[in-house]
Structures are given as C-alpha cells and as structure tokens.
C-alpha cells in the first residue's frame, strides 16, 4: 500500500486520510491540512491493489464508518467522513 507522508509542524495527532486521486473534496481536505501545517499521511485508494482496497474498507468499517471518501482517521480511532472542516478543526485542536 502506498502511504504518502506529508510533513508538518502540527503533529500533536496522528492523521491518516483515505482519499481518491480523482476526488475534489479529497484534494481540498489535503490542502486544508497542508495549509494548517498538519503532519498527515494519505492513501489514494483508487490507485491501490484490490487486496489493499479490501483492507482499507475493513479498516474503515471496523472504526464505524462506510467506505466513502475522504475518510480521516485521527489517532487510530476517531473517524471523520467527508471534508467536514468544523469536525476536523475540533479533532485536531486547530
């Protein structure tokens, strides 16, 4: 699985973004994190193998979500579906 790491000074929380390379909301989410200097990792799910794809779906479902994109996972437990700026700000204390 190709996990891309984006460096940032704001690294209080562990942030993982499941995204699609073609999705504009996903791109905005990445940009928002970058603009706020948040350190995060992302995976472009549509570019993954089918095996990885299954793994990602199971991971999201295990954490109580459905595989829709973007999905953010914060500190391995808190899940945010969609580019919800308000929820992201709150969870990351921005």
């Amino acid at each position: 699985m190709n996990v891309v790491k984006v460096a940032g000074k704001n690294n209080k929380h562990k942030v993982l973004v499941y995204a699609l390379s073609t999705c504009a909301w996903c791109k905005m989410t990445k940009k928002f994190l970058k603009d706020n200097d948040v350190e995060y990792e992302y995976v472009d799910v549509d570019l993954c193998s089918q095996e990885d794809h299954e793994k990602i779906r199971k991971d999201i479902e295990k954490k109580g979500g459905h595989a829709s994109f973007p999905t953010l996972i914060i500190d391995d437990k808190k899940l945010i579906t969609g580019f919800r700026k308000d929820l992201i700000k709150e969870a990351l204390e921005l």
Partner: protein, 182 residues
Amino acid sequence: MISLEKVRQRAESDAKTYGYYLNSDPEFLNDLLEGLRKNEERYGYPSCPCRVATGNLELDRDIICPCDYRDPDVAEFGTCYCALYVRKDVVEGKTSLMPIPERRPLEKQARAYAVTAEKIAEKTAATTTKTEQPRSEVRKKLWYCRQCGYVVYREDPPYVCPICKAKREMFAEIAVRVDLAG
C-alpha cells in the same frame, strides 16, 4: 483519449438541459472534470470522481456521471455528491456548498466489494469448489414511466424521469411474457 475540453462541454450542455449549474469555483470544477476524464480513460466510461468504481460496467452503471443520485441530491441539498452540478441558489451564494451524505445504497457498494473479494478468493484459492452463487449479480428489468411512457431497462427505475420529470413512484415494472406456442 478524451480531452478535458470535451468533458467540460458535455457537463455544460447537460447542466443546461436539466437547469443545473456547474460548480462556480474554477479550480474545484477543473479537478472534477479532470477526475472524470481520468476515469473515462481508466474504465472506458466517466464514473463518478468521488466514488470507487470497479471497472465492471454493470456494477458501476448507477455511478456513471451524471449518476442516479444527482437529481434527488441537487433537489434536496442543492448539490450532487461531488459538487459538480449545483442549484442556482448555490451558484449565487445564497446557499453554501457543503459535503453531503452518500445516497448510493450500501448494498450496491457492498456488491462491488463482493466482486473484489470474490476475485481475491479466486486468486488465493483456485482449487476450492464453488457452490454459492456470486453475490455480485445484477438483475435488470424493464420499467416504464406511467406519466409519459418512457421505457428503461435497468436494475432500478430512475429517481426522476429524464423525459417528463415524474418522480420514481410513477414508474412501474413491465412484466414480459414470452409465448412460444402457436
């Protein structure tokens, strides 16, 4: 290969036909059109840039742009799931653009994943005998609009009739009987 300009023209003329508008943020719009172009190149049809496609036309039919969910989503939220097509009040800034919930039924998503899982299972255990029917089967039917007579051959009737704009409830299934006798 399809050009970005072609994708744009197609979306523009479709928006006009249905009385919608395209996202007014040029960068946002460009990203979406580029996503559609890329999907058309990958799969042979412009599947939704914000959803996972399988590459299997039968399973992706409902998420080919404009998807089945656009009309009810624009009506209810002012925007389609990706925010490519929006309503007038959104373009005018009277209603703000927000991410909306996914309307695509879970069972349709699950079916796409079932195919993936089946493929993986086949790959890893090619010797096991299969007794179960694949869950991924798509069963199409004939539907007609009781208001204008429009007929469509698909799994589910559309949310809105593309011809006369009647609601889904106006559609009825056509029972087909094949009689071979005399």
